[in-house]
């Protein structure tokens, strides 16, 4: 029974592959538009090991990590600062919510003017989007620190700075990780879109777009799956760090 439970996550994958194979076999869809799973995964394997896909994959990873890192370095300290005073946060809340709601893709032209056509634009737009998400989560994490816990520290004689450092900072960590996971997902979306449309010569977005232009469907699907695996992997990466260092989260 236990062994069966462990296999459950693979059931959906198996069903998808079967339906996909049957669709190709029965020629429900034009085979040019939907290649078989085997030719897709072969394209992916060749692309990742010896083709251009692997290079593009790493390029996208690099851009996403840069933008998330920049966002985190700016947004975490700022979020702690804003969150430690509810009055300060309330005074900038509208601005944060407004820009958080603005589609980051709408900022491309502005950032193009500022940074030119190149990596700096892609990375900075993605960092901008991710930073707001992280900022918002960190600030809320600090603000929602349990009142009793803060009171407990105060009653033991902790100074304000000590409470911020020893209690609020740690209290905000679970929410900070929620922000980081959402932030990295958003950064990846923005980077991929940027790679498609703003004069890029590499990256997964460019790979998908180029394969589509060349009508190379196995390559296109391979690039899409690579992007999916990247998104999933980045999320899992942060989740693993979170479980490791924020062991009390949700308990």
């Amino acid at each position: 029974m236990k062994r069966f439970q462990a296999l459950l996550p693979f059931v959906g994958v198996a069903v998808l592959l079967i339906v996909w194979s049957l669709t190709v076999w029965a020629r429900v869809v034009d085979p040019v538009l939907l290649p078989s799973p085997i030719s897709t995964f072969r394209a992916m394997w060749i692309g990742m090991t010896s083709g251009k896909l692997g290079v593009d994959f790493l390029k996208t990873v690099e851009r996403t990590i840069y933008s998330t890192a920049i966002a985190a370095v700016i947004a975490i300290p700022l979020g702690i600062l804003l969150g430690s005073s509810e009055k300060v946060y309330r005074s900038v809340e509208f601005l944060i919510d407004f820009f958080r709601s603005t589609p980051a893709s709408a900022m491309f032209p502005l950032f193009l003017v500022l940074f030119g056509v190149g990596d700096r634009t892609k990375i900075s737009v993605a960092a901008f989007g991710a930073a707001l998400v992280i900022l918002f989560n960190v600030a809320y994490g600090v603000m929602n620190a349990r009142k009793t816990r803060i009171l407990a520290a105060r009653v033991m004689g902790a100074s304000r700075l000590r409470v911020l450092w020893d209690v609020m900072l740690l209290e905000s960590l679970p929410q900070t990780f929620v922000g980081l996971r959402n932030g990295v997902s958003l950064a990846l979306v923005i980077v991929v879109v940027a790679e498609m449309f703003i004069g890029s010569t590499d990256g997964l977005g460019q790979r998908v777009f180029e394969a589509q232009q060349l009508f190379d469907m196995p390559d296109m699907y391979a690039a899409i799956f690579a992007a999916g695996a990247l998104g999933y992997g980045l999320n899992l990466f942060f989740l693993t760090i979170e479980r490791r260092f924020v062991h009390w989260s949700g308990r």
Binding site: T148, V155, V246
Partner: protein, 274 residues
């Protein structure tokens, strides 16, 4: 009158021998006044807390039991009045405070041991010295729980015991407990009462306990402070002198039953007044 208090205190401490100093009240509350937006909770409230005794505060719902110890412990500001510990303000003394909600009062990112040692860290005591002090306290109280666990890995009772130890580690002059057992199940409550009684017998620390359980209040206390509805007055300060350690058997003895009945009668009279 409040102004004359510190001067009188100095004289007292200077002249009288140590033994009578020990019988002087530990905490003096004078002219305490507290208003919340729509209600006066305390109006010119005076009270003395005796030294080295365990007292319980009991009264109708919303009369300000917790507010009282929160003001005494300096968690809430007072609107007027003065609370002194041997003539000194709260900022000058060492005290311990145990919250009802142990889950939110402990630090889940620290192991139980480090939770207990945390107040020592705040006092700037070296790590090795702090460790030794925690180990001494553990041995002294004969506590048999694994302090390497994180709070969320422990039962509610164990967590509250850790909270109490965190309050005791500074060797407090006074210990406050705000309904410490009300979030525990009955079995655990009985166990924790014994733990608290044992700690009290061992340390004789002046202890103020807020309780909503009359049986518990009488069972644990040397005195039960019965409060009226707000603005709260001290209706009566009922002594209960059964020898310690008290056991479950004490609860079936005549003096326990009559003390509890007396408190209940006053309580009901005060409730009806509202």
């Amino acid at each position: 009158m409040a102004g004359a208090q510190p001067a009188a205190k100095v004289e007292l401490a200077g002249k009288l021998p140590d033994s009578s100093h020990r019988t002087a009240p530990h905490v003096t509350i004078r002219g305490l006044t507290k208003r919340f937006s729509d209600a006066t909770i305390y109006d010119n409230f005076d009270f003395d807390i005796p030294r080295g005794k365990l007292i319980s505060v009991f009264g109708p719902n919303g009369c300000g039991k917790s507010t009282l110890i929160n003001m005494i412990a300096g968690l809430f500001p007072v609107d007027a009045g003065e609370i002194l510990f041997d003539g000194q303000p709260i900022s000058q003394i060492r005290f311990g405070y145990v919250f009802q909600n142990y889950r939110e009062a402990l630090f889940p990112w620290l192991r139980a041991f480090d939770n207990i040692a945390y107040p020592l860290k705040l006092m700037g005591i070296a790590k090795a010295e702090g460790k030794a002090r925690v180990e001494r306290l553990v041995a002294h109280l004969n506590v048999k729980i694994d302090l390497n666990l994180y709070p969320y890995q422990m039962s509610g009772g164990q967590q509250q015991l850790v909270s109490i130890m965190r309050a005791l580690i500074v060797e407090p002059e006074i210990l406050f407990l705000d309904e410490p057992f009300s979030a525990l199940d009955y079995e655990m409550t009985l166990f924790m009462r014994e733990q608290l009684q044992r700690i009290f017998v061992e340390t004789s620390t002046t202890t103020v306990l807020v309780s909503h359980d009359l049986e518990e209040a009488v069972y644990l206390s040397d005195y039960i402070l019965l409060l009226s509805r707000h603005p709260a007055r001290a209706v009566e300060f009922v002594p209960y002198e059964a020898p310690r350690p008290r056991t479950l058997k004490s609860m079936s003895e005549a003096d326990f039953i009559s003390t509890k009945a007396h408190c209940l009668e006053i309580f009901q009279r005060e409730v009806r007044k509202g």
